[in-house]
């Protein structure tokens, strides 16, 4: 983290190009491949995680500042919590007799 960097912001440009590329790749995988639906979901899901990481590290500079480690811990635990909420909810509400369909 430098206060002054007159250099061209390469990391931003690289991040931008990568996120556009991942978006197009995801569309390609979704519509132009013969993978099974769940494989597609895994692949585009991983692409989404890559893109989120690009935003966090290349645009939002999550690790900078005195609280870099705390920020990482905060975001990391929020992500774990998000996974608990999403997968927990799906598991609880779609297994057993509660399954509505």
């Amino acid at each position: 983290m430098n206060a002054k960097s007159h250099r061209f912001p390469w990391n931003h440009l690289v991040g931008f190009v990568l996120s556009i590329a991942f978006t197009l790749l995801a569309v390609f995988v979704a519509f132009n491949t013969d993978f099974s639906a769940s494989t597609i979901l895994w692949i585009i899901g991983i692409f989404a995680i890559f893109q989120a990481a690009i935003q966090l590290f290349m645009f939002m500079h999550v690790t900078e500042g005195k609280e870099g480690k705390i920020n990482l811990f905060n975001i990391g635990s929020s992500v774990i919590l998000a996974l608990i909420i999403v997968f927990g909810t799906i598991w609880v509400l779609t297994s057993g007799h509660a399954h509505l369909h």
Binding site: M1, N2, A3, K4, S5, H6, P9, H12, L13, G15, F16, S19, I20, T23, A26, V27, A30, F31, A37, I40, L41, I44, G45, F47, A48, Q51, A52, Q55, L56, M58, F59, M60, V62, G65, K66, E67, I70, N71, N74, I75, S77, S78, V79, L81, A82, L83, I85, V86, G88, T89, I90, L93, T94, L100, H101
Partner: protein, 198 residues
């Protein structure tokens, strides 16, 4: 990290706390959106004889929205880069570009919603539409709030220039804006692509 290389927005103790506090708030936002996603996944197939995602989603419009928002996140990053170079004009211009791209995104999204309503998918139609419109609407409301928020900050920037306070405020708004892009990526992947493919 010495005082020479510390960016202006981190200079005062209060600014450091504001930025940290906003990161904690973003943690809460992650939980909020993951709850919206979880509910969407439970309800997405419950279309109650109404249209499903596959019936109404249009890839082209969604891609345009995605590119608008991705680009706005990039220009927002450039704005903060300019700010760190004490380039007030660059900061102002890139932020305005960001806002215009954000407004373009909102225009597309509102049109998309009107299209869905014409197709017979209102928020009252089914469990699916309720969860869909609430997830998308919450994100859209965040973008709308962000646009007005950044306009307020730009007025302060013009009046006061790049100071410890204005820079930390704009930096926080930029975090918010990038975060909305992160949320959109997941909406794009797990609502639109998943809805159209599966």
């Amino acid at each position: 990290m010495t005082s020479q290389t510390t960016p202006l927005e981190y200079k005062s103790h209060q600014s450091q706390m504001n930025i940290l506090g906003f990161w904690v708030f973003l943690g809460a936002e992650i939980v909020l959106f993951s709850t919206l996603f979880a509910s969407y996944f439970i309800l997405e197939h419950n279309t109650a004889a109404g249209p499903s995602g596959q019936d109404i989603f249009i890839l082209k419009d969604v891609l345009i929205e995605t590119f608008l928002l991705l680009t706005s996140s990039f220009t927002c990053g450039l704005a903060i880069h300019s700010m760190r170079n004490h380039d007030k004009k660059g900061l102002l211009i890139w932020m305005i570009v960001t806002l215009l791209l954000g407004a373009g995104f909102l225009y597309m999204e509102i049109n998309e919603f009107i299209h869905y309503i014409h197709e017979g998918a209102t928020i009252q139609t089914s469990g699916f539409t309720a969860a869909f419109f609430t997830l998308l609407g919450t994100h859209g409301a965040h973008v709308t709030f962000g646009v007005f928020w950044i306009i307020m900050l730009l007025i302060q920037l013009v009046r006061r220039g790049i100071t410890e306070k204005t820079s930390s405020k704009l930096f926080i708004a930029s975090l918010y804006w990038h975060f909305l892009d992160v949320v959109w990526i997941f909406i794009f992947t797990f609502v639109y692509l998943k809805g159209m493919v599966m």
